[in-house]
Amino acid sequence: MKKLLTTAAPHIVSPLKTNHIMLDVIIALMPVLIAGTIIFGIRALLVTAVSVVTCVLSEFLYRKAMKKRNTLGDLSAVVTGIILAFNMPAHLPLWATALTAAFAIIVLKELFGGLGFNPVNPAMGGRAVLRIFMVVMLGLPIYAQLNPGLTFDAVGTATPMVYQLAGDYEMVPSYWELFLGLRFGTIGETSKIALLIGGLYLMYKKVITWHIPVTYIASIFVFAFILGQDPLFNILAGGIFLGGFFMATDYATSPMTKTGKVVYAIGIALITMGIRVFGEFNDGIAFGIITMNLLVPFIEKLTKPKAFGVGMKEGAK
């Protein structure tokens, strides 16, 4: 008889693999990509393609150069590429798209050790860095560039939030237009219906739980109400759905405990609304998520579940 294996129990593992999860995320992102292409045209597809290809290539080349194992098979670079593109306007120059994508993968993901080790979501960090970079480059606050009367060829994006903030109410779309996504914005953030389909698919497939998206969206609603804003407009107008379903739920950068997820989501909502109402940027979500990403280790420590029967003197009869 051939030598028998004697490795320790358990001797079977679930058929679920990391790349199955990532594939589900990619599937969930497809309705959003379709909506983005319909709304913004074929260039939305092009930006997404450039972003994905750059992410995949950067990861491949970096790991090859560092003589590390090829990890493209886990599909996480593809996910980052798509989500990053969804945070960009369809008219962003392709060189800027590629640069941001390479930065997200190499600096924000691989330099920290790759999948699972990155302290901030690479797509989110990429968006924030792109925004700051653009502001610096143009030497102006980005929304000042966006004169609603002119054609939309600036490098930044304008969401309806901008018009709202600027008091330009004629440019503010209706709730229905907002829900369908018929407005300016980044490729993936506008169509709430598409994001909802994708998000519910992720919940149905148990890739994500309700804790982060539901808490986040509900908190935005409540905080907007408290701060005297239009709550419905606030959850529909910016990138709340994209952030809540697809970016705040990033495994690597969100808490693993259920209570932690709720605390984290409320935190993001607080920062998002704080920036929206009191800040200069229109990127409340990105900075909310990045800030809370960095607090995840502490949130996890504070919300560690109570182990079964630990710390009990008597049985609960």
Binding site: T18, G309, A316
Partner: protein, 433 residues
């Protein structure tokens, strides 16, 4: 559908109960049996026979003076062929002649009952192998109000407990009645997973037909591994949480495996000590999976031969099921009192999976029945971070392995929790020295 969206992710271990409807077959007497001197939790036994001695079925062959131990009896009639530090080998004469001194135990007092259970050599037949007489001998019987019979059988493949109920329900119920009487409990519960329709039916019929069994309740449990783990079962049946480091009797319950109880019922009638056991032989390498009643000490290869041999080369042989079973290094190893199953993997089933980086998906955290954070423990074990490990309640881990099963990156989580437990134990001992 809408409701389903909000349900948490549940890691579901497969059932694979291929042998659920297969009547137990009696193994023809094997030529040799190897009786391990340590086949229970506690002190190994010392032989009381010598090479060349003739022995009869049920005759005492090894015992220990230690408190935590269980005597071992000859499981075939024949001649002691060899004795070494680990085992006694008996060559069978094929007659299965029974020791004439065997008679039903006379039980008048509580001490008689405990002594009888001790003499029978009974240990937890669900796989734990803890000497049963110690479990039954609770300090203060007035504390106990519930007897829980563990028929959950949550491991994949294994159906031996379910077959015990279906084929020997009368013994099971009689065992419960006597034990409940001894413990003076009002209520007995049989915890069983809901997919065992046949066993549940048999129990229902027999309970409703006999007034003596009116205090026995069937507690139908959701099929969720590790439903049969003692702490989980107690909570499922009584909503009581067993505090870490405490015994079931501290929350008013005694838990016993259903096959152990069935044996108890038979033993009180016949006095025949524990010499055979029912086990499930299954796994991809086995040609005809089946339930077998075999003398304890039978070699695995004899079981396989009885099941028409291997259909694929064996790659891994487990005493027990695939979640918690003990790997054996060859099919020339014997079954013990603890072997509720022999699971033999084909090469495909035994395939090792490449370990990938943790993606922090938290499936292990959601899966852990003890609400631990396996991923954090694993990380700190790998980083040798003792201080962090001390805060992570490793001792609450019941070793069920659901974290490792659930992990999409195929990380060896429970395996590293075991390493972590050792690290903590060593640190504690080092600190004392």
């Amino acid at each position: 559908m809408m409701f389903n969206l909000f349900k948490p992710f549940k890691t579901q271990v497969p059932h694979w109960k291929n042998t659920a409807s297969k009547q137990t077959e009696i193994l023809p007497v094997p030529e040799y049996v190897h009786l391990m001197l340590s086949q229970h939790i506690g002190a190994p036994c010392q032989p009381v026979v010598e090479v060349g001695d003739e022995v009869l079925v049920g005759q005492l062959v090894a015992k220990s003076e230690a408190f935590v131990s269980a005597p071992i009896h000859a499981t075939v009639s024949g001649i002691i062929e060899a004795i070494d530090e680990q085992k006694i080998i008996i060559k069978s004469d094929g007659k299965q002649a029974i020791d004439p001194s065997i008679k039903p135990p006379t039980i008048e007092t509580d001490e008689d009952f405990i002594q009888a259970v001790k003499t029978s050599g009974l240990v937890g037949l669900g796989g734990a192998g803890f000497p049963t007489f110690i479990k039954f001998n609770v300090k203060d019987k007035s504390q106990i109000d519930t007897l829980i019979i563990n028929a959950a059988e949550c491991e994949p493949f294994i159906t031996s407990d379910a077959r015990e109920i279906i084929e020997n329900a009368a013994d099971v119920l009689e065992g419960i009645r006597v034990l409940a009487d001894f413990l003076q409990v009002e209520k007995s519960m049989i915890g069983i997973e809901d997919h065992n329709a046949e066993a549940i039916n048999v129990l229902n019929t027999q309970i409703s037909g006999n007034a003596a069994y009116k205090n026995i309740h069937i507690q139908i449990l959701p099929p969720k591994y590790p439903q049969g783990a003692e702490k989980v079962l107690i909570e499922s049946c009584t909503k009581r949480i067993l505090p870490l480091g405490k015994l079931p009797s501290d929350v008013g319950v005694v838990v016993s495996n259903v096959s152990s109880i069935g044996f108890l019922g038979r033993y009180l009638k016949t006095g025949m000590p524990l010499v055979t056991r029912r086990l499930t032989l299954d796994g991809g390498a086995v040609k005809t999976p089946k339930n077998i009643l075999a003398p304890i000490g039978t070699l695995v290869k004899d079981l396989v031969e009885f099941a028409d041999g291997y259909q694929q080369p064996p790659a891994k042989i487990l005493s027990g099921g695939p979640m918690m079973g003990m790997p054996l290094d060859s099919d020339e190893k014997p079954i013990t009192k603890r072997s509720n199953a022999i699971t033999i993997f084909s090469p495909v089933q035994a395939m090792e999976h490449e370990e990938l980086e943790c993606i922090r998906c938290a499936r292990c955290v959601d899966a852990c029945p003890m609400s631990l954070m396996p991923v954090s423990i694993d990380q700190n074990v790998r980083q040798n971070n003792l201080e962090a490990l001390k805060t992570l309640d490793l001792n609450a881990c019941i070793d069920c392995g659901l974290c490792s099963f659930a992990c999409p990156s195929k990380r060896t989580l429970v395996q590293n929790i075991r390493v972590g437990k050792n690290m903590l134990r060593e640190a504690e001992q080092g600190g004392k020295a």
